[in-house]
Amino acid sequence: EPAVPSRELQEMSTEGSKYVNKEIKNAFKEVKHIKSLMDHTNDERKSLLLSLEKAKKKKEDALTDTKDTEMKLKASENVCNETMTALWEECKPCLKQTCMKFYARVCRSSSGLVGHQLEEFLNQSSPFYFWMNGDRIDSLLENDRQQAHVLDTMEDRFSQVSRIMDELFHSRFFTRDLLDPHHFSPFGPNPRRPLYFNPKSRLAR
């Protein structure tokens, strides 16, 4: 003999189901709220993207000017070569030592390979490159290249996400307006048995 009769179990199930359905509705409301936050973020993102594009254009014009001048300077005859080379020979060991100290202390990693790579790099570099701030120019160009790549990928991902979210929020769930009186029937055929549980639903589909 069960401790609680089945009729009471059914009543308890009905009461519990009401709570679960209420929580599902709450989750659904929250989804709509998050969607509105995403729309807001997206509007801000779009306006930011416009500013970003304008700033990119300005930056790239300045970089082009810099590269052009650098080319002209490279094409001009190397002067003061002897002075620069002598200074460069003294600059290299100091640079290497400073960099390796920094690397060992801050990056906490073995500096053997990096030291060898740096030495090779310094021996191949020219003082003229250094004199005309070639490293600063290269650094700007490298950042520009990397940022362009990151931006492209971010945009690509965002458009994928946007497509999916559009699909999600254009589903019949969200597009069937609650104001549509034709479809809205607060008292369905059986209020205790929502239609989405209707056993005929498979047939109807």
């Binding site: 929250e30 973020t41 003294e90 600059c91 990056c107 940022q147 991902r157 498979r202």
Partner: protein
């Protein structure tokens, strides 16, 4: 009123929620796929130990030009930058001045761009966080939908109710309720005996605890 079920006509639970599960999952995958690795790390202006120098270390490992930024700390390197060749080549000197000023402008505009780029990255991170939130809020519902194969009038089905007097394994002073949420595995919940079965709070407590447990499991 968002989900008055009858208005959606003949749809079952799976019909309603399965697409959400797939879509939110796909959206999050698209956004999160190595998103962290994608973030652009801005090289530091100054090599200081107090700052986050991960990007500097990465730059030194990847490309030795990073070390050239430390030229300020070497007097002989500074001297190269001060070499004045105007006497032997006024034209070259003029070009160098032009280069210096256009480089300064390019650096200034790059900094402005970097600021905007940082904000843009932040917006993308915010979107990613919202997707995570969306998943957290809705994951349990869509997982329940995934489990549901049969159509049942109840989203919560109580199977047994027992107290210490009827089942010695139940701690005294508690009522144990075993139930299923849709087609989930049985979930056991205990309620203090002070809340009697006739009390409307009883089933609310049971359902709340069952959902909490289910949500926790679905997060794992």
């Amino acid at each position: 009123n968002i989900m008055p079920f009858p208005m959606y006509g003949p749809m079952n639970f799976q019909d309603m929620f399965q697409p959400f599960f797939d879509m939110i999952h796909r959206a999050q995958q698209a956004m999160d796929g190595q998103f962290d690795g994608l973030l652009f790390q801005f090289p530091m202006e100054e090599f200081t130990e107090g700052n986050d120098n991960r990007s500097v270390c990465k730059e030194i490992r990847h490309n030795s030009t990073g070390c050239l930024r430390m030229k300020d700390q070497c007097a002989k390197c500074q001297e190269i930058l001060s070499v004045d060749c105007s006497a032997s080549s006024p034209e070259q000197s003029q070009l160098r001045e032009e280069l210096s000023s256009s480089l300064q402008l390019a650096e200034q505009l790059s900094q402005q761009y970097d600021e905007l780029f940082r904000s843009y990255q932040q917006k993308m991170l915010n979107t990613s966080a919202l997707l995570k939130q969306l998943n957290e809020q809705f994951n349990w519902v869509s997982q329940l939908a995934n489990l549901t194969q049969r159509e049942d009038p109840f989203s919560l089905q109580v199977t047994t109710v027992a107290s210490h007097s009827s089942d010695s394994s139940v701690p005294s002073g508690f009522t144990k309720v075993v139930l299923r949420l849709f087609d989930s595995d049985p979930i056991s919940v205990t309620v203090p005996e002070e809340v009697s079965m006739n009390n409307p709070k009883f089933m609310e407590t049971v359902a709340e605890k069952a959902l909490q447990e289910y949500r926790q499991k679905s997060r794992v």
